[in-house]
């Protein structure tokens, strides 16, 4: 394609293209907004907003016949940090509150609660949870079990006994012993935000040239396709790394996520991921001739898959195997895994290397397809 093969001229051509891209970036500030303002804004919003730690869950306590025993039981709920209990005397009122969405669960102590307490079979405590949000429902039922346990221990202590259950569970949570959900959510959010930004930065650049007819002008220059791709990639790579550095800095210093691995591993993996994300944007941009289609595809193919299929919130192992297979082409999946490991566990090579390799394969796939697709158009 290019006839001029003197060594210096390729670099010069490339420099010219890169300069043009930079000028375009500076003149339409939306790229700069994407690279620097978006990560900060999104990470602030999500870092504080996204949390799975439930506290002060509103629940209804229905006590049909209040007395000393029931008061003893309900006080355990009032003391719990997880619940905001409200007491009702009839089931009807509580049901209405549940239908209106004001309470998430109802705990019922029947009329003969006090009498049954002293019988051999024990007294039933009825727990009705709103099952619509199944996850919260499970968390609530776990917390109610916890409250029930404390109450029994307390009651046994008052009788001067010690509560004995045959098996006692001891849990140890590695890497995140306080179970701060932020520690795992923030690295995941960094991955999602960077997927978005990487694709957004490049999704429009090729299709814009096609739509405006300047692509053909670019093709009659001595620039080879490889040079065009490098020239389009490099400026946005630099911008993206800047945004990424901001995001990682915020994760470390603002959200205080511990970094147990080394910074250079984090940096290298991030650079690799950014090339993959930008490559995907370029591919979209090349295949879709119009900016409209490119934008639509970029949004559909990046944000939601990164959000739902990366293992960021939903466990990949629990998905059906076809869906698990699909997650393999989601670059964010590998990056989420690397980030969570480097941040919380350390440099565990058995996790980092396979994931990094997968990113290399995906990046070459995207860039190779871009190259091939752009090539075909020349004819």
């Amino acid at each position: 394609m290019s006839t001029d093969n003197r060594p210096g001229s390729s670099r010069m051509r490339l420099r010219g293209l890169i300069r043009k891209e930079f000028l375009q970036i500076v003149r339409d500030p939306s790229s700069i907004v994407i690279a620097f303002v978006m990560p900060v804004f999104l990470l602030l919003l999500f870092g504080y907003g996204v949390s799975l730690d439930s506290e002060h869950i509103p629940i209804a306590l229905v006590v049909e016949q209040p007395n000393a025993d029931t008061a003893d039981f309900t006080s355990a709920f009032h003391q719990s940090l997880y619940f905001k209990p409200m007491e009702y005397s009839s089931m009807r009122d509580a049901e209405q509150e549940m239908m209106a969405g004001h309470v998430q669960a109802i705990v019922v102590l029947r009329q003969d609660f006090a009498r049954q307490l002293h019988q051999a079979d024990g007294a039933p405590v009825q727990l009705i949870v709103n099952g619509v949000d199944a996850n919260t429902a499970r968390i609530i039922s776990g917390y109610v079990q916890g409250v029930w346990g404390t109450w029994m221990e307390h009651a046994a202590m008052q009788r001067g006994q010690k509560l004995k259950m045959p098996v006692q569970m001891e849990q140890r949570i590695w890497f995140n012993s306080e179970m701060r959900s932020r520690n795992f959510l923030v690295p995941g959010l960094v991955a999602i935000i960077m997927t978005l930004i990487g694709a957004l930065l490049t999704a429009m650049v090729m299709s814009r040239e096609w739509e405006r007819g300047t692509m053909e002008a670019l093709l009659v220059t001595p620039l080879s396709m490889r040079e065009v791709i490098v020239g389009k990639l490099l400026p946005y790579f630099i911008l993206g790394m800047g945004g990424l550095a901001l995001a990682v800095g915020m994760a470390l210093f603002l959200f205080e996520v511990p970094l147990r691995g080394s910074l250079w591993v984090l940096f290298a993996a991030s650079a690799l991921f950014l090339v993959t994300a930008l490559g995907m944007g370029l591919l979209i941009s090349t295949v879709a001739r119009s900016q409209f289609v490119a934008g639509l595809v970029a949004l559909i193919a990046t944000f939601l898959p990164a959000f739902l299929l990366s293992g960021f919130i939903f466990d990949i192992g629990s998905m059906p195997s076809i869906v698990q297979a699909i997650t393999h082409i989601v670059a964010a999946r590998y990056y989420v895994s690397i980030l969570q490991t480097v941040f919380l566990a350390g440099n565990v090579w058995s996790v980092i290397l396979p994931n990094a390799l997968a990113l290399v394969i995906l990046a070459s796939l995207f860039l190779g397809l871009t190259w091939r697709n752009a090539h075909k158009r020349l004819e």
Binding site: L52, V125, A134, R138, G142, W151, M152, F184, V293, I300
Partner: protein, 369 residues
Amino acid sequence: MFGRILALVIKEFVTLLKDKRTRFVLIGPPLIQLMVFGYAATFDLKNVPFAVYNEDRGSASRELLAAFDGSPSFTRVVQVTHADEIAPLIDSKQVMMVVHAGPHFSADMLAGSPASLQIIVDGRNSNTAMLAINEVRGMVERFNLEWISDHGGTQPPAYIETRAWFNPNLESRWFFLPGIVGILTMLLTMLVTALSVAREREQGTFDQLLVTPLRPIEILLGKTLPGFIIGMAEATVIILAAVLWFKVPLLGSLFTLYTGIVLFLLSGVGVGLMISSFAVTQQQGLLGAFIFMVPAIILSGFATPIRNMPQLVQYITLVDPVRYFLVVLRGVFLEGVPFHLLIPQFWPMALIGVSAFSIAGWLFRHRMY
């Protein structure tokens, strides 16, 4: 007037549908995504790999561990024989959890003193870790009660009977699928509208549109109706798929559901049009749509409850139409909530829609004269 609007609507549809790629992008991905995400979005653990480190030779530990093997949530992948093997297994993510019974487990149980079962969990994904721990706790408690009734011991004075309303088996898919309906509908409607005016501006045809006899309000309507119609069709198809394919129960009335959809589309199209009238280029239009949509989805209560958010972020979610729509969808689908109880969700969507339209209309006029 209607003839003119109709002409513009037809023109918009032709622009959208004449291109093969655009046509595909409008129809294909939403359906594929519903299928993939419908199966992906679940908090129900399945086949979580775990290892057993059993130092006990008695039968009690074997009985308890049998409960793990019977649970669909967990899959035993390795048997550990030495404590040193635990760390590499968890570090490399080969297993998510290690269950450890000490050498005196069965002896302790038979002697009537509490035996301890140690659970080591990978906390890198603390949500999965928490779900796994909850699951194990339930199994241990059931085992305890059985043991007491078989071998004697003090029964606890009270016990808990749990029932879940609206979703008795606690299938989290039922919770997420209506949410996916909302998200996909939002995505498409907003993009179609957000880019429509920006495209005309960029291509210079907006000026041509302005010199036609169409009045600003007519242009506004002509530009929004296509997004509205596409959104309506999209929502209907996705709802049908959710009900017929995924078998999510639809308990409430269709009238209530469609009232919600119409109001939601009104707000989505309104915001899209507002972004569109701000933007000069399509890139800016797309960027605007992104900046609105991404937080609108993540903070809508789709995956993480709004209740958990700090107060300030909770206030921000008040302008998020998805938030209200999700309540409507989940309420109508799973709880059969009657119309009047959803009015608190309806009017904010209407308000967002009307305000966005007013701003868009003002911008139209402002930039024209």
